[in-house]
């Protein structure tokens, strides 16, 4: 195995007592001594701070930047105003996933694309092979850019203590270039926890100062530093897909329930015809939510069965901390995806009953 990369906060995490684990080529905090369930609840009820510098950031510049983005992903970015931030993904010609991404429209024909850590080289290679002929440049700014997420109902109160910029002016899924404690920072009212909050992008060398400043500003608000385990359970309850689990190169957007991102009228984009075919012909496998009827903890990779026949697989499963239920996301064949359908999840060799339930398990704060 190649050497794991460490973020600028590695020593800080260790000093805080974090348990460090390998994740997507990085050595990241999976939890602090508070524990993943307490960290999860802090984000639902107050706020959590996450080191997510393993995520990659690409800048796209040049006169054809917009045209290039229209061509490589399904969202109509022509409808995005400057400072808008939106979710999307990249598809191969056959409609399967390269990665999922967040797109930020910045002033002066500039765009920022946030990508998954594990896919940094792959995404850049794939984008570079398609940029030929466009008057645009793709620049990997991941190393110079630090990224943290501040999430939860108290996120705005905490961040407001550190900036003169009125955060009421930063609407959900928009961004702003502001000063945070004197540090030039791009903030997005974005995140991946099902709560309101922010993702912050700022110079790498300010990582420790920013981390400590935010923790200090949040110490009377219930803010906790949170690890990857809480990040996973939070996004899972909100049914936000994670690359490598719900989405990867063997599944496609319609089955993954991400067809809403696609704009069918904006002109061609890579993978459009294949994804449209899935939409029109209906996908064979669909992502569903399952709730355990029998006792047991469903986990990623477990088989899903109907009448003793294996028909699908679990992509993520756990005891959902906020809902206090044993839940799973799973791919099952179309026809077995209706609410109330009873299926079995094979837990350590034994079929355990589960039922198809509505997604998301936890309705995100911004959809209420």
């Amino acid at each position: 195995m190649s050497e794991l990369k460490r973020t600028a906060l590695y020593e800080v995490h260790v000093a805080m007592g974090a348990r460090m684990v390998p994740f997507a080529g990085w050595e990241m905090p999976v939890q602090y001594p508070t524990g993943p369930i307490t960290e999860h609840q802090a984000v639902r009820e107050a706020a959590g701070l996450f080191d997510i510098d393993h995520m990659g950031q690409l800048k796209l510049v040049g006169p054809d930047a917009e045209a290039f983005l229209q061509y490589v992903q399904p969202r109509d970015v022509g409808k995005m105003k400057v400072w808008d931030a939106e979710y999307s993904y990249l598809c191969y010609e056959d409609g399967t996933f390269v990665d999922d991404i967040f797109i930020y429209r910045l002033p002066d024909d500039e765009w920022m694309i946030v990508i998954n850590a594990a896919n940094r080289e792959k995404d850049i290679f794939w984008l570079d092979t398609h940029i030929v002929g466009f008057d645009a440049d793709l620049i990997d700014i991941s190393d110079a850019t630090y990224m943290v997420a501040l999430q939860g109902p108290k996120a705005q109160t905490i961040l407001q203590k550190l900036t003169d910029h009125d955060l009421n002016q930063v609407a959900f899924h928009t961004a702003a270039q502001i000063q945070v404690g004197g540090v030039e920072t791009l903030i997005g009212a974005t995140g991946y926890t099902g709560e309101y909050g922010y993702e912050l992008f700022f110079p790498e060398e300010k990582a420790i100062a920013m981390w400590e400043m935010i923790l200090e500003a949040g110490k009377d608000e219930g803010l906790l530093a949170c690890g990857l385990a809480a990040r996973d359970s939070l996004r899972f309850e909100a049914c936000l897909p994670l690359y490598g689990h719900e989405i990867h190169a063997e599944v496609e957007p319609i089955g993954a329930r991400l067809g809403w991102v696609c704009d069918w009228d904006k002109g061609p984009w890579i993978g459009r015809n294949a994804v449209l075919k899935h939409k029109l012909e209906k996908p064979k496998m669909l992502l569903v939510g399952l709730e355990m009827i029998d006792k047991g903890v469903p986990r990623e990779g477990y088989q899903v069965a109907k009448d003793d026949k294996v028909i699908g697989w679990v992509t993520t499963g756990m005891k959902a901390p906020t809902l206090n239920k044993f839940l799973a996301l799973a791919y099952v064949p179309r026809g077995l995806n209706r609410f109330g359908t009873e299926l079995d999840i094979i837990i350590r060799g034994k079929p355990k009953k589960a039922v198809v339930v509505k997604r998301p398990f936890y309705l995100p704060a911004y959809r209420r």
Partner: protein
Amino acid sequence: MTLTYDPNLKYAKTDEWARVEDDNVVVVGISDYAQDQLSDIVYVELPEVGAQVSAGEVVGTVESVKAAADIMSPVTGEIIEVNEALDDSPEMINEDPYGAWIFKVKANDLSELDALMDAAAYEAYNATREH
């Protein structure tokens, strides 16, 4: 956080602790080291009361947020009681690993416990393990 070791218990390499009560009854739980490694425990699959088990046999599972760990019986015998309070409150194992016992087994032969370590040996053994 310092891990605790109870000098009145015997420990298995697989991280169960065992305590002998009257009538050859062995009470079994998992160690502080084990609960710390597992982190937040969310579910305990308890053995069946009345089941005949052999020493080293998997009789249940402790599942945490991130992993599932088998629980072995340290002795051959019959399961006579399980801690049903763990059904509703599995986190008791995190809070009090030596109080939150998992099952009681009536041992055929208590000398099987000689294969286990005392607290000092178990602590020394854990020091050699990778964290």
